[in-house]
């Protein structure tokens, strides 16, 4: 009888907004740590000379470079909004099912909107 199987868990459990936001919060957290490290290296390299600056600048103009930059912007936006949601929850508010759905959606769509705004702001469009 020692050989009892373990019942399926994450393989079968249905996702909903709060669990999605929660797992994304973790993933973006890890991305952000890597991103900050990368940004530190970037700044250190710039300090070492102009040619480095041009090289990095060239890389950031490529498709992959832009993808990484926009990705990091989204990741930071998401983490920030989700963290605000967590802070509100730590104060004991926003636990009603309907509210958690709304705040979860606000985080998801808010992060996308914030990314677009930062992009437009960075390009000097707004």
């Amino acid at each position: 009888m020692a050989n009892k199987p373990l019942s399926p868990h994450i393989q079968i459990y249905k996702w909903h907004i709060s669990s999605l936001v929660s797992i994304s919060h973790r993933i973006t957290g890890i991305i952000n740590i890597l991103a900050i490290t990368l940004i530190c290296f970037w700044i250190a390299l710039i300090l070492l000379g102009e040619s480095n600056y041009e090289l990095i600048n060239f890389f950031l103009q490529t498709f992959i470079g832009k993808f990484i930059l926009i990705g990091i912007t989204w990741s930071f936006s998401f983490q920030m909004l989700s963290e605000i949601r967590h802070l509100i929850m730590d104060m004991g508010y926003g636990f009603e099912l309907q509210t958690t759905k709304i705040t979860g959606l606000l985080v998801i769509f808010g992060s996308i909107i914030l990314t677009i705004l930062i992009y437009l702001f960075g390009r000097g469009i707004i």
Binding site: H9, I12, H16, F95, L97, T100
Partner: protein, 259 residues
Amino acid sequence: MVQISLPKNSEVKKGKYFKDKTGSKNLKKVNVYRWDPSTEENPRIDTYEVDMDNCPSKVLDILNKIKNEIDPTIAYRRSCAHGVCGSCAMNMGGKNGLACTTPHAEIDGDIDIYPLPHLKVKRDLIGDLDGLYKQYQSIEPWLKNNSTKQTTEIYQSKEDRAKLDGAYECIMCACCSTSCPSYWWNGDKYLGPAVLLQAYRWIVDSRDEERKARLKKVADELKLYRCHTILNCTNACPKGLNPAKAIAEIKKMLAMTNL
């Protein structure tokens, strides 16, 4: 430890297919997790074609129908059939709930029925809840009032009584705890939503004198703070309670109490 995949002996295989014999036009495919402890085989999914024209509205009715009319070997817990006893807690359509209060019409397509997630399976849909009951015992879920020698009832104001609303209704069906990823990965140490909701129920009881000791007991990195507000618990609770909020309240009390 976080282990995403199932161990070798728990991988689910395809099982038997029970074709409809009634000739009904309104059929639903019901996939049920099966495991027989008398064999060395892995768990399997058996599929039953169930005649929905002659089946009442709840998932438990489907299981009863299968057991009575198609396959008597299927095992599951059930008792009251009115959402009071908490016996028939299981995972239906990817969500935990009580089979007796979950309408099958709410589940689109085939109906998948599994035992409560991340438990040692005793047989078919019956999971082993011993660990959870031990944890429940560890929070000492009874009134501790040693200073008064009173033998009559201890009065409570309406406001104090109201604090227990949303906590005392819990039927310990384990839907919440077994829906919680933190409980899946750290169920040996983390108390889980069901037990923490009960811990909260005794902490806020105005008649209890051990409030501080109770708080101190749950104030632990693993026992309490593994809750990351994923909110699977509140989503799963068949009684509409809010364990996540109770856990947040305990955290808040700990932040404001000088222990």
